[in-house]
Symmetry: C2
Amino acid sequence: MKIITISREFGSGGREFGKRLADILGYAYYDREIINAIAENRELNEGYIEKILENGLLNNYPLKFGRTFSYGTVMAQHNMTKILVEQQKVIKDIASKSNCIIVGRSANIILRKYNPLNLFVYADIKSKIERCRKYGDDKELLSEKELIKKIKQVDKGRARHQELLTDIKWGNKEGYDLCINTTGLEIKELAPVIAEYAKYRLGGNYK
Amino acid sequence: MKIITISREFGSGGREFGKRLADILGYAYYDREIINAIAENRELNEGYIEKILENGLLNNYPLKFGRTFSYGTVMAQHNMTKILVEQQKVIKDIASKSNCIIVGRSANIILRKYNPLNLFVYADIKSKIERCRKYGDDKELLSEKELIKKIKQVDKGRARHQELLTDIKWGNKEGYDLCINTTGLEIKELAPVIAEYAKYRLGGNYK
């Protein structure tokens, strides 16, 4: 199978990029679907899992919450471990089924032995704020300061998630085949160009 | 003018990549030529300038050389500053003449206000060693350990050179439009694909 993983900074257009790339190449596309699949298997609330995955699995709970919080923490971490294991199974399952693009969820690391093409999508902070304002769910609720904080927090969670699996740091170019700066670009125009690169790297058989 | 700058890790094939890209796009190509031009203007020995530029301009000379070395150090730093200024002039001059590709010499920073397309070319250490063995001038003279040391030293010099001009760190993806991992790739096959990306970014008028 041909596998493309897309890691991305929050607000850089990685999800749209992944979808368009999948369309052009005729690949299956996954991001939140993976989470849904896990949720189905584990009968856990999807939003809960989503939150855990975005925040990382070994989140350091602030000590100031004191002892009363400890049992909850232990349970949360227990659930997190289960989710991580399940997530890996789902990702490997997906990758074995058909050519696919997987956005996020450290799929670049989880699928390493299948030799995926690993892309990283990033942008400058101004561009990410603009994108969040345009497409984000909570675009009208957050101040600029809050938005910047959110962007940083989400990316920190992603970095932490990858840290559980490998020493290769999230976002360091060494871990990717191509790092794409989307600042000021239309994803719609960028995707076909990068699709050509993907074809060169992964070889024939496209619709 | 359309300008592409290529920054690259030593041994990653950046120079060959730049030449092939220039060929495909019909752009003028520069790397060592810049140095030659400086040398001509300043009537300084080319090898000397090359060495200074590779090692960075404000190299910290070891104190153990003692006082007798101090005058030389001061003079060397004086010359370095002159060379840096001259180098910037030459690079700006080149960029104003025709569409061009400039490899190295912090041209991405020097030409910032002309909005160049900035590429970074890198590879894993194994791949860089192989490339040095295949194409390097001193391939048969250095042990693997010495070669790794050389690779690191050259890149350190490049990072230091850029440090003189900007806070943007050499090799951090944020400073580039596209970061290209050449590990295991044939530059000859990679270049036409990236040329398509360059056309998309810089627009029409190619031979």
